[in-house]
């Protein structure tokens, strides 16, 4: 980056935002050289934007001078996402903090990125509504930051993470062009790409969020267990029973000890579980309460206490909420090595983590969003002690490896940023990573929008052996066939059950997934099922029914792949956890596993929704399942045409030779390849 370019850009940007809002003094640069992580990098300046309409003009200037920039909000992310590694600009958007609209009839709130999560909650409360994502940082973290990191919180167990609670995003793309993306858009679900994209694909300018009426009744259940295992088992048993509490949070004895609250718990207690249920029906609360207590007792609960009084409930939450603060009082630094594993692997993974901590003589409290399989070892240390820090780093890496080998993920809700980008190489295959890189490359040709985040910069692919599904013989056959066609550049029509693609041109050869119809994995403890994409929806529903489970997908003759490719209904995206895909060059890319939360790479499984076979062949999908039909909604997707400049770029990233369903390219992507 040339100084003269920066100087020119400053001139131009000052004309847009005012001289006062472009800061290049040393003191300012230094206070924008960190976020809540351990990462430090000094920017060349800070641009303060207080009006969302100015984001695009400013970004256009930066792009034209090829100057890297990093959007920043509260700077509370724990992975280094809000620092600029390339000595470019920080764009401070905290001043864009207006709530534009609250529409309780439609269940939508429209906000600017800088609106603080808790502030929105307080406004919504006045109308008896709430916005589900509730990160522990909600007092400061913003909606923009929450979307960029796909933040979660305790009540995401029932209501989903941030991604599950967005409806539409207005975005300024890396080159400054504006676009909006909606769940109802026709074609691939590009909006899903932005949740968790950490500012690498553009800047969120305005967000349309899902809001819900606050349930009339709630109940908090506090319980103590003799072992961590017992408490985890109580969690999985509850979920297995079909009860989906709003929150299920486990805290281990170490955290309680650190809080100096050992005396407040039973001598034998090793773990504390706090559960919260909510409903509009008092009856349901009552029956769930009875059932939960039964389950807890069965799992050896030493003590349970319940309350539906707000103040009393706060008391019950206190020990859980003290877990982090108490560590902050004794330590200078806390490393939260956020990760997620399938719930069925939770107990064994925790055992391994404890061993690692012990071996490395590390003090850490363990807290879990247990219902989600999300683990948070809170490791205390002093970053001024280099030796200690290195020891912590080493142990943290070992913990991360345990997440991965258990089939889990390196990031559940705290993003990847700089801190974890290297770990991607351990979790994902070269094919997966290369696809991610191509998406970034296409969308941000000059690599200016928050560069060097989220995506590994090194190339030493070293994916670990991990618990995952084998690639079936049938898939291998498909891969071989696609590879052959790729070499010969033969276009392919990707069909499900052949029912949906009408006019396939002569020169295009069909391929279908009819032979892919097996259930690959059925995990009752984890409440997930992984099925091949050619399986009929009806068969999946029937299979689950025979096992006493339920999935809210209409039992049609359509293949699962087809339902996804067509984006039949809006709620489908909330069920999808992971996906395997064959790309048009024959590469096999896997995204996620059986994890309830996964923020390691861009959310490709959701992007594939609505892609009509034009991006890749979906070979298998993992879904969340349930115990019974709990009045799930099925809303038909409107499939409204909204083609943006991003569309064709996505197509290029996946299928640069236009080999998959080429006859749809113009319709879906608005351009020819």
């Amino acid at each position: 980056m040339k100084t003269s370019e920066i100087e020119k850009a400053i001139e131009e940007i000052s004309d847009i935002v005012g001289y006062n809002n472009v800061k290049t003094d040393e003191a300012t640069k230094l206070v924008y050289s960190y976020d809540a992580s351990m990462v430090r990098a000094k920017p060349c300046g800070v641009i303060n934007i207080n009006d969302i309409e100015l984001i695009s003009p400013v970004v256009k200037v930066l792009y034209s001078h090829s100057i890297p920039y990093t959007p920043r909000l509260a700077g509370s992310n724990l992975s280094g996402g809000a620092t600029n590694q390339k000595g470019g600009f920080i764009i401070n958007l905290c001043g864009c903090d207006k709530i534009r609209q609250i529409d309780t009839l439609k269940g939508i709130a429209v906000v600017e990125p800088g609106v603080v999560n808790l502030k929105l909650q307080k406004e919504l409360e006045k109308f008896g509504f709430f916005y589900p994502p509730d990160p522990a940082s909600q007092k400061v973290s913003t909606i923009g930051g929450n979307i960029a990191e796909n933040a979660g919180g305790p009540q995401c167990l029932k209501y989903g993470v941030t991604s599950n609670n967005i409806i539409r995003l207005d975005v300024v793309l890396p080159d400054g062009t504006e676009a909006h993306f909606d769940l109802n858009d026709k074609g691939p679900q590009i909006i899903s790409l932005f949740a968790g994209s950490e500012g690498t694909l553009g800047i969120i300018k305005k967000a349309y969020l899902k809001i819900l009426p606050i349930p009339k009744y709630f109940l908090t259940i506090y319980s103590e267990f003799k072992t961590l295992e017992d408490s985890m088992k109580a969690v999985t048993d509850t979920i297995k029973k079909g009860i989906i509490p709003k929150a299920m949070e486990v805290t281990d004895k170490l955290s309680i000890k650190a809080a100096g609250k050992e005396k407040e718990i039973d001598k034998e207690t090793e773990a504390m579980l706090i559960t919260e249920i909510d409903s509009d029906s008092e009856e349901e609360i009552k029956s769930q309460k009875e059932e939960i207590i039964k389950i807890f007792n069965f799992n050896g609960a030493l003590k349970t206490e319940t309350s539906c009084d707000k103040n009393k409930s706060e008391e019950l939450w206190k020990l859980r909420k003290e877990a982090y603060p108490s560590l902050a009082r004794i330590a200078n630094n806390i490393l939260v090595e956020d990760g997620c594993v399938p719930r069925s692997e939770l107990v064994s993974t925790v055992k391994k983590i404890k061993r690692i901590l012990e071996e490395n003589a590390i003090t850490a409290g363990l807290v879990f969003h247990a219902g989600d399989g999300n683990i948070h070892p809170n490791i205390v240390f002093d970053e001024r002690d280099v030796k200690e820090t290195n020891r912590i780093r080493k142990a943290a890496k070992e913990i991360i490896k345990e997440y991965i080998t258990a089939g889990g993920t390196i990031s559940a809700e705290h993003g990847v940023g700089v801190e974890k980008r290297g770990f991607i190489l351990l979790q994902h295959s070269k094919e997966t990573i290369n696809l991610i890189r191509r998406i970034k490359k296409e969308m941000d040709e000059k690599n200016v929008s928050n560069p060097d985040k989220k995506i590994p910069v090194r190339n030493d692919f070293e994916k670990l052996e991990r618990i995952e599904f084998e690639i079936s013989e049938n898939v291998k056959i498909l891969i071989k066939e696609i590879k052959k066609r790729y070499e010969e550049k033969i276009p392919t029509a990707v069909t499900g059950y052949g029912t949906q693609l009408k006019e396939i041109p002569q020169n295009v050869e069909k391929i279908d997934t009819m032979d892919l119809k097996k259930v690959l994995n059925f995990d009752k403890d984890n409440m997930t099922i992984t099925a091949e994409a050619g399986m009929k929806a009806k068969n999946l529903v029937d299979f689950l029914k025979s096992e006493g489970f339920y999935i809210p997908i209409p039992p049609s003759e359509s293949s699962l792949g087809g339902i996804i490719a067509r984006n039949d209904f809006l709620e489908l995206r909330d069920l999808i956890l992971s996906m395997d895909i064959i790309l048009s060059n024959g590469e096999f890319a896997r995204f996620g596993g059986k994890n309830i939360k996964d923020n390691s790479v861009y959310d490709i499984p959701k992007l594939m929704i609505g892609s009509m076979g034009s991006l890749g062949i979906i070979t298998s999908v993992s879904f969340k399942i349930f115990k019974e039909n709990r009045n799930f909604k099925i809303t038909k997707t409107k499939n409204e045409k909204n083609i943006t400049p991003v569309h064709i770029k996505i197509k290029k990233a996946f299928d640069p030779d236009n080999l998959f369903n080429p006859f749809m390219t113009e319709e879906l992507y608005g351009a020819k390849l």
Binding site: A27, V31, N48, G114, S141, R329, I330
Partner: protein
């Protein structure tokens, strides 16, 4: 971690160690406890006023840490960051690690080129040592105020010269300057018997020179509740010197006050010290911090500070039981928690506990009740732009309660919000003890 990377914060002008909620720590250890989590941001009045990291507690802590570590070379380059802190303590109060940001920031401020060295500051300290001269100067200003000459004086920068914290704004903001200072008539107000006093009244400068009615109310309330008491004939608590000038001078004031107390205690062994400005009270409660490492004086300061009480904590609900309200019946009342009571002293709901049973639904909860009003001693004078933004936010919150009366407990808030009630939203700003006095009458 004892090793400083450079010379900063090691010279005489500083406190070397702080008493934090996590024990005694040197400045480097104290500031390194900031994990950069950012949790404090939205609680900080200067941050919410401008939404920039520069004005956040985290920004201040990190700047100071980088100064100590030599990554930031010159404190004067970060003056804006350091000087915009109101020292209100809201951040410490919300921070998981209770990082002592205001104390740390103040120590950094002492490092600035012009800190405490200005001719003006020195002049005042000297004049103030001669009470009669000081009285005379101030009275002259009050007369000028009456004759509206203060506006002219302001233009001429004369208040700057006087340098009493906030005086320029103060006089602008002063609604009704008293004719007599409280120390001139206090003897007539005190209980006549001087034996076995239950309380010792500490007269703060704000009460003495500006809000004499507050002092009168305090004395009247204390007499009713605690009977016999005496006037301490104290010196200024030293907060002005501590915050704006010389640490040594502050210590001198403290020691002098401690001495006076020790003398009085001989006759009145059970008496507590009580004052009606939460800022001064909070400072006196923190006297021991200044004497860390000085064994004897530290002990004396500890003893002294353990006896200091804020007027808002000595009025208890039982003192007002079976009260019938007449005059206040239709008035809506709200409470602004002065930061120095709420954040520093941890007095979070003393007023509510007393007033809720009698005022019932007429006592309205104030949003962000403990966020600073922007007064903060000389802040409204040195950082008028910030101060006004912060005041605006406060008055907006008050306007949402539609309160007729707003209660505060520090003279700085009285001045600032009194001004706000003229310029932003009309509410009668009163010291809590004035209302209690009224009720007890």
């Amino acid at each position: 971690m004892k090793n400083y990377k450079n010379e900063l914060f090691t010279e005489k002008i500083h406190l070397h160690e702080l008493i934090t909620k996590n024990g005694v720590k040197n400045i480097y250890d104290a500031v390194s406890q900031c994990t950069r989590c950012g949790y404090c941001l939205e609680s900080c009045p200067s941050y919410v006023a401008d939404k920039k990291e520069n004005y956040s507690p985290r920004g201040r802590n990190q700047t100071i840490r980088m100064l100590i570590e030599g990554k930031q070379k010159d404190v004067n380059l970060a003056k804006d960051i350091i000087d915009t802190c109101l020292l209100c303590g809201a951040c410490t109060n919300i921070c998981y690690g209770s990082v002592a940001t205001p104390d740390i920031t103040l120590e950094a401020r002492r490092e600035e080129r012009d800190f405490g060295n200005s001719f003006i500051y020195k002049a005042i300290i000297n004049i103030r040592k001669k009470r009669k001269t000081f009285d005379l100067i101030l009275k002259t200003f009050y007369i000028m105020h009456g004759m509206k000459l203060d506006k002219l004086a302001d233009k001429l920068g004369m208040f700057d010269f006087l340098g009493y914290p906030s005086l320029s704004n103060a006089v602008k903001k002063l609604i009704k300057p008293p004719k007599k200072f409280l120390h001139e008539e206090i003897n007539d107000l005190m209980p006549k018997e001087a034996e076995k006093a239950g309380w010792i009244y500490f007269l703060t400068c704000g009460t003495d020179y500006m809000f004499t009615n507050v002092g009168k109310s305090s004395i009247s309330v204390l007499k009713k509740i605690y009977g016999n008491g005496i006037f301490m004939k104290n010196l200024c608590c030293g907060l002005i010197s501590y915050n704006y000038g010389s640490l040594n001078d502050a210590k001198e004031h403290a020691l002098k006050n401690i001495e006076i107390f020790e003398e009085l205690r001989k006759e009145n062994p059970n008496a507590f010290i009580v004052a009606d400005c939460s800022s001064c009270v909070a400072f006196m409660k923190s006297y021991p911090q200044m004497f860390l490492g000085e064994e004897e004086n530290y002990k004396r300061a500890l003893e002294f500070s353990s006896k200091v009480k804020d007027i808002i904590e000595v009025v208890k609900p039982e003192h007002l039981s079976d009260i019938k309200l007449d005059g206040l019946k239709d008035k809506k009342i709200t409470i602004h928690h002065s930061c120095k009571a709420y954040n520093d002293q941890g007095l979070k709901d003393e007023e509510e506990k007393v007033l809720k049973p009698i005022l019932k639904e007429n006592l309205i909860e104030l949003n962000e009740s403990n966020m600073c009003c922007g007064g903060a001693g000389a802040y409204s004078f040195t950082k008028p732009e910030f101060s006004n933004k912060i005041l605006y936010r406060k008055m907006k919150n008050i306007s949402e309660t539609q309160a007729d009366i707003t209660l505060v407990s520090s003279t700085s808030c009285l001045m600032q919000m009194g001004y706000g009630s003229k310029t932003h939203y009309s509410t009668e700003v009163k010291h809590y003890v004035e209302l209690i006095d009224e009720i007890l009458k």
